[in-house]
Structure formats: C-alpha cells, structure tokens
C-alpha cells in the first residue's frame, strides 16, 4: 500500500515535470496559429517593442492558418532547406550504417590486435566537442576540395564514433556461444555478421540511427562553418534571425521541423530507450 502511494506520488511529480518540459512545444504550437498582430502583443517586451513582461496564452485569441499557408505555399526556400536536411541526414545515416555497424561489430566480436586500445582511442574522439575538431576538419576538407559542399557535413558525421559506441554494447551483449555454434556449423565471418550479428543487434542499430537522425537533423555549427552557399543549407539554419515580421513564420517553421524528429522518435522509441540504456551499461 505504501509502495502504491509512493508510486502515485512519483507519477504526479513526473507528470508535472513532463508538462513543464512539454511547455515550449505547446508554446510553439499555440504561437504557430497566431497572427502577426497578436504575436506583437505577446512578444513585444521580449523583442524590445514594448515595456513590461512577456506573457503567453494557452490558446490563440484569433487563431489563423495564415502563417502555415505562407510557409507551406509561399516559401519555396523552406522546402529547399527541408530537402537539404533530408538529404544530409539520410546520407549521414546511410554512411553510419555502412561504416559504423561493421566497425562496432569488429570492435565487439573480432579478435583484433590491441583492439581494446584502439577502441578506447576511438571513443576519446567521441568525447571531443565539434569546436575542438573544427579547425582540423576545415583544413582537411579544404585540402581535399570538399568545402562548400554538403559532403563536408555528411562525411565527418557518417564516420562519427557515437553510433559505433552504442552499437558496440549491443554486439557485445550477443553471447559468444551463438557465434561459436555458427562457426561449428561452417558459417563464415560475413555470414555470422549478416545473419547473426545484425539481426541480434538490430535494436542497437535502430537506436543508434534514431539518435544519429536527431543529431543530424539539428546540425547547426557544421553547415554554418562549411557551407557558404545558402542553397545547400539545412533546415536548422532557416530564419536564424527572428524578428517581429517573421515571428509567426518562425513558429510554423519550428513546428514543421519538429514533426520528422517526433515521428522518428516515435518509430524508434523502444530501441532508443534500449540504446540509451546500453550506452549506460557498465562493463
């Protein structure tokens, strides 16, 4: 009984926290249905148009789809950036599948000379933030002539170490007995990887890909640094300066940008939880 009460209390606390965390999204959705005039009233103090404190209603007073129409029907540049984001994100994930999955399998199950040491060095790279490797990335990309191309964003991300780290733990959790049985049955290394490793580690692969998707979808520094040509910019750079004139548009753009992340999150929700848990497993 006591345990039951504690559980309910915990639920309420968590619910409040969840609502608190969801508030920005709620604000986004409410704001996307407001007109410019209404936004001026609420955002005026924030943007220095009027004095006092900003306030925010739960529902718009004069709801309108004007901003949606303007963005979705009258802003071709938004779609250019949307598809740029799809392209960049898709290629990053494809690259990670082609390079990261075998790498994680290798580190986890193959007997590599000083494999443990190599993995540790590899993981250290993951710990470095983008700002640290930006200069070396820039010099390298410039030397091989990839500057101001989307490959400058795609290739470094495709070979990112973070998904390898996540998938490594999943592959490690596959019992060696299964691999040995397969070997006894005459399976080759590639067969073991394709028919045993990938199916058994699929949850890890999916969770890594979901995390990579969210990461790639929200890239800001890399495209801003390596892409001078605006036509190649991803959606994350849409409307970098929010003013009163485009505030409504910014809300709608944010909502639309949110939708793929949300759907991908829903699709990989279970795997993501496992992935996050896996990355926290203590060896």
């Amino acid at each position: 009984m006591k345990n039951k009460i504690l559980k309910r209390l915990l639920f309420i606390i968590l619910l409040l926290l969840a609502v608190l965390i969801c508030l920005p999204v709620l604000f986004l959705i409410v704001g996307s249905f407001m007109g410019t005039d209404e936004l001026n009233i609420y955002l005026g103090p924030v943007l220095g148009k009027s004095s006092g404190f900003a306030s925010w209603p739960l529902l718009p007073t004069y709801p309108t789809f004007k901003a949606y129409v303007q963005l979705l029907l009258d802003s071709p540049e938004f779609f250019v950036m949307f598809w740029n984001s799809i392209k960049i994100t898709g290629l990053i994930i494809l690259g990670q599948l082609l390079a990261g999955v075998p790498a994680a399998w290798g580190f986890a199950k193959l007997k590599v000379w000083h494999g443990r040491l190599l993995f540790n060095i590899y993981i250290v790279l993951m710990l470095m933030p983008f700002q640290v490797t930006m200069l070396s990335n820039y010099l390298t990309l410039n030397m091989i002539g990839l500057m101001n191309t989307q490959w400058a964003v795609i290739l470094p991300a495709a070979f990112s170490t973070f998904p390898v780290f996540i998938m490594y733990h999943f592959f490690r959790s596959i019992p060696d007995a299964i691999i040995e049985s397969a070997e006894l049955d005459g399976a080759g290394r590639m067969q073991i990887f394709l028919h045993i490793g990938i199916p058994l580690g699929s949850s890890g692969i999916v969770s890594a890909m979901v995390l990579s998707f969210l990461d790639a979808w929200n890239l800001i520094e890399q495209p801003l640094t390596f892409l001078k040509d605006m036509t190649k910019w991803p959606l994350s750079l849409y409307l970098p300066n929010i003013t009163m004139d485009n505030a409504a548009l910014a809300f709608v753009a944010s909502v639309v940008t949110l939708i793929p992340s949300f759907l991908v999150f829903l699709a990989g929700q279970n795997y993501l939880e496992q992935g996050i848990a896996a990355s926290a497993v203590k060896e």
Partner: protein, 612 residues
C-alpha cells in the same frame, strides 16, 4: 479510462510494433505531403514572382522629334480681276489648288459681255465726239485772239507812223528855217567883205556839217535800239515754243531775262557804246563850231547894219521857233509812241483776259503771254479728255478680248490659288475674283510650337514639310522662330519654301529631328519612373539566397538630363553592363525578387544603331 487505471498504466510490449509502424507510416506520409507542398510552393512562386524585362543603358544622343501643323502662304500674291458687272457662269478655281498659267479659273456670261461691250463702245464714241467739239472751240478761240492781236499791231503801227510823219514835218521845217537863216547870213557876209565872208561861210558850213553829223548819229542810235528790240522779240518767240512745237507761256521774269541777255551781249553793248560816243563827239564838235561862229560874229558885230541885223534876227528867231517846234514834235512823238503801246497792251490784255503784269517797254511780250495762256487752257482740258478716252478704250479692249476668249478667265501665272471670292451666279465687281500665289517668289510655312518644343529649334535648322496633298519636302530651313504675338507661351515658326518646290498645298505638317549631344547613360523611357518631381529607375542586382542566385531590384534615384518620347539621358554612376528594368508584370518595390523574362538584346541593338 479511470485516472487510477491511467496511473497503473504499463506499456504493453506487444503493442510496440503498431506504434512504430504508424509512426513510420506518418513519416512517409509527411514526406509525401512535403514533396507535394514543395511543388505547389514552387508553382505558386513561379506565378507570383514579378517578371521583368531588362535593358542596358547606352551612350547616345537624345533626338527630339518636333512636329506641328501649319499653313502655307505665298510670299507674294497676284490678283485675278476681270470686267465688272458680268455674271459668273462656272467657277473652276478652288482654294489650295495648284494651277498652271492659262488654266481656266472662271467662265463669264457671254451675253453679259456682249451687252457690256455695246454700252462701252457707245461711251467711247460719245467721248470721242466731245473731244472733237472741244478741239474745234479751242481752235476758234485761238483764231479770234490772233485776229485781235493783228488789229492791235496795225493800230499801233499806224499811230507810230503818224507820229513819225509829224516829227519829220517839224524836222524839215526846222532845217529849212536854219538853211534860210544861214543863206541870208552868208549873203550878207559876202557883201560886207570878201575876206571875212569866206571865213563866216566856212564857219557856218562847219556848224551845219556838225549838226548834220549829230543828227545822223542820233538816228543811228535809234536804229540800233530798234534792231536790238527786234532781236529781243525774236528770241522771246523762239523761247516760247518748246521742242514739240507746242506754245508755252513765259513769265515776265523769263522775258526780262531774255531781254537783259540780248541787251547785255558784248556785240550790242559795243555797238551802243560806239553810237553813244559818236553822238557825244558830234555834240562836242557842234558846240565848238557854234562857239567859233559866235566868236566870229561878236568880232564882226560892228560891221552890221541895223536892217540886216533885224532881218537876220528875224530869220534866226524863225529858225529857233522851228527848232523848238521840232523839240515839241519829238516830245509829241514820244508821247504818241507811249500812248500807242499802252493802247496795244490794253487791247491784248482785254482780248486774252490775262491780268498779269507786263513790262512797260514791251508791248510785244504782252501779246505772246496772252497767246500762251490760251494754249495752256486748251491743252489741260484736252489731257483730261484724253485720259478718259484712253480708259474707255481700254474697257472696250478688255471686253473684246474677253468676248474673244468666250468669257473664260484664266490664270495669269502658275501658282497656288490662295483665295476665291466669287461663286457661281455672282456678278463680278471691281475687286479681285481670286488670288493666285506668285510661284516664282516662293512660299512660306507658318506654324505654332509649344515652348518646350520650340527651345530645341533655331533659325537655319533643317526640317521636313509634309503637305496635305501627300508631297513631302526635306531639307528646308527654318527662317525664323519668335515668340507668338498672341500667346507668350507659344512660338511662331516660319519655314521658307523655295519656288522650285512643285505641287504644294495650303496645309502642311512640319517635322524636325533635333539631336542633342551624346550622353553616356541613356535608357528607354519605360525604365524611368517618377515620384512627383523625383525620378528613379529600378536596377537589377544578383544576390545569393537559399533558392540560389536570385535577381532583385534596387530603386535608384536619378537626375534626368534630357529626354524625348523614347529615351531619357540620366545622371548616375552605373556599371557599363548594369541592367535596368524596362517592364514588369507587377508594381515593383525596392528589393523585390524578380525573374528576368528575356534579354533585351534586340532592343540594345536598336539603341546601338540609334547612336550618332
């Protein structure tokens, strides 16, 4: 679902797959929707974006096409006149029509002409008769005057002759008395002493000879004066007849001048002087002879006897009486001559009616004056009549020629008919029935221009005239541009049209193409926009955006240096390949995105050819 159930909710592991599948389905659906919206937004953008055509600025001269309508008039007109009071049957003349010499203008009623001719001939005959009558009357008056003159001269001559005879008689009586006295005296001297009588006779004879010489000298002087007077009269007569044989009247001053001239001629002066000297000598000699006789007589006075003396004295007294009679006769003669002259003058004056002053010593000149006056009167009246006759003759001649031409009035010279003042059925008057411009003296075009156009034109500029009959003449020059007298804001333009230009009409359009200096930046007028008095253009600039390289327009204020109906020269700093918006599908604003429809290469090429 109750809250309790919700709080006890646990994720059902078996249902995971359904959420994941739905999420993936939604994601795919979302991407499809986004793809469709991409297409729709592109299409909408393509529809809504402002499409513009652009052109580049060129260096060229701005030409001003100036055009105005006006009238053509001749520098000199010729009036077409005809015989008055004749009905017009047809009118072939029309204003603005070009005619050649001899072209038919009007046709007049031939019956009217015949009737007019008949009347004119009658008038002419009557005038001729009047003049003949006048001439006859003048001749008669002249004859009677001549007769009166003749009689006056006869009377004058008779009076003079009579006076001369009386004078002669007195002179003869004096001579005979003197001779008797001298004879008696000589006879006595002979009887008293022969020695002395010879001396006395000689002295007496000498005195007689001297007296005779004095008389001769005096008569010679008289004759000379008569001769001079005769010359004077001849000269006056000659002077009063001019080269055409017509007599004219000489004034008194002119006559006196002739007289002075002849009298003072060297020849006559010398003769008169010689005659005067002769008389003077003769008088001196006669005086000395008389003195000698008197002296002789006084010396021999003692010799005389009382009877002889008384006889001699009686003879001498007789002689002296006769001499005084002679002197009286001379006076009488002079007075008679004077009287006769006056009578003659009066007679001639009354005959002619001339009241003018005449010289006292010239009766002949009076008669000449009278004759001249008579002639003048008749000549002046004859002149008036002659003019009248000539005009009537001319009228008849014109009618005859018109009748011969069957009443057709033709153009007297080639040119443009500028005015027709008669219509069919009208009756002609003394005024001109039509006016034809004199083609030889040329024409002039007159038009009016606004100040804004006129400022580009000046005297001597080349223009083209398009006449209303379709003829176009190039290369004509403006002869004058001046402020209109009626309106200070307009200008009158005059263009001379030389006579060599054929087939012109009354109305014409003047066209002038005046080019300015070359400007560096000239754009079609479509590129230029105005906001009140401020002008601006839209230039196209490229900018990179998410959609790639996009064209945007920039609103640039410019100053217009010059412009015509097609181009404007603008002042501003632009690149040589700067593109200017020529047309747009929507109203443009600064920084608007635009799509360039097509390059204006052909337009640019045209600009190039338009350059000078």
């Amino acid at each position: 679902m109750k809250l309790k159930d919700l709080m006890n909710y646990e994720i059902d592991k078996d249902k995971k797959s359904s959420i994941q599948i739905k999420a993936v389905k939604f994601l795919v659906g979302f991407l499809i929707i986004m793809f469709l919206l991409t297409i729709v937004s592109r299409a909408a953008d393509s529809i809504t974006i402002t499409k513009v055509t652009v052109t580049q600025a060129t260096g060229m001269a701005i030409s001003h096409d100036i055009e105005t309508d006006g009238t053509v008039s001749s520098v000199r007109d010729i009036a077409i006149t005809t015989v008055p009071n004749v009905k017009i049957v047809t009118v072939n003349a029309a204003e603005g029509k070009t005619v050649e010499k001899g072209d038919l203008l009007f046709e007049l009623d031939t019956d009217d002409i015949a009737r007019q001719l008949k009347a004119a001939r009658k008038d002419l005959a009557s005038a001729k008769k009047d003049i003949a009558d006048q001439k006859k009357a003048a001749q008669e008056a002249k004859d009677s005057a001549a007769e009166a003159k003749k009689r006056a001269y006869e009377d004058y001559n008779d009076s003079i002759s009579s006076a001369k005879r009386t004078l002669k008689t007195a002179e003869d009586a004096m001579d005979s008395a003197r001779k008797a006295y001298l004879k008696y005296k000589n006879k006595k001297n002979k009887t008293d002493g022969s020695s002395d009588s010879t001396v006395a006779d000689s002295l007496a004879k000498t005195e007689e000879e001297k007296q005779s010489a004095l008389d001769k000298a005096k008569s010679a002087l008289e004759g000379l004066k008569s001769d001079i007077e005769a010359d004077v009269q001849d000269a006056i007569k000659a002077a009063s007849v001019d080269s055409s044989g017509k007599k004219t009247e000489l004034s008194q001053e002119e006559k006196q001048a002739i007289r002075d001239k002849i009298s003072s001629s060297s020849k006559n002066t010398a003769l008169l002087k010689a005659a005067q000297e002769k008389i003077s000598n003769a008088e001196d000699e006669l005086a000395s002879a008389k003195t000698a006789v008197d002296q002789y007589e006084s010396e021999h006075e003692v010799i005389g006897k009382q009877g002889y003396k008384s006889q001699l004295k009686a003879l001498r007294d007789d002689y002296l009486t006769k001499k005084s009679d002679y002197s009286a006769a001379v006076d009488q003669y002079n007075s008679t001559v004077k009287e006769a002259k006056r009578t003659l003058k009066d007679a001639l004056s009354s005959g002619s009616g001339d009241t003018g002053e005449t010289s006292a010593d010239s009766g002949v000149s009076v008669s000449d004056d009278a004759a001249t006056s008579d002639t003048d009167v008749s000549v002046s009246s004859t002149d008036d009549s002659s003019d009248d006759l000539a005009s009537k003759q001319k009228a008849v001649d014109r009618l005859i020629s018109l009748q011969k031409a069957k009443g057709k009035v033709t153009a007297s010279s080639s040119g443009l008919i500028t005015k027709v003042s008669a219509e069919v059925g009208d009756t002609t008057t003394e005024e001109a029935v039509a006016r034809i411009s004199d083609h030889e003296s040329g024409y002039s075009f007159k038009g009016t221009l606004e100040k804004s156009s006129a400022k580009y034109l000046s005297k001597g500029d080349k223009v083209t005239l398009d006449f209303s009959n379709g003829v176009s003449v190039e290369g004509l020059r403006i002869s004058d541009v001046e402020v209109s007298a009626n309106d200070g804001d307009t200008y009158d333009v005059t263009v001379d049209i030389p006579s060599k230009v054929e087939k012109i009409s009354t109305y014409a359009t003047m066209k002038a193409d005046k080019a300015s200096k070359k400007y560096d930046t000239c754009v079609p007028l479509g590129c230029l926009h105005s906001d009140g008095n401020d002008y601006y253009v839209y230039t196209v600039s490229e900018s990179s955006s998410v959609l790639g390289i996009e064209n945007k327009v920039d609103k640039v204020s410019v100053a217009v240096i010059d412009k015509n109906t097609e181009y404007a020269a603008i002042d501003g700093t632009f690149n040589y390949d700067q593109q200017f918006v020529l047309t747009s599908t929507k109203t443009l604003n600064d920084k608007d995105r635009v799509r360039i429809l097509q390059s204006e290469e052909s337009e640019t090429g045209y600009h190039g050819s338009g350059e000078e």
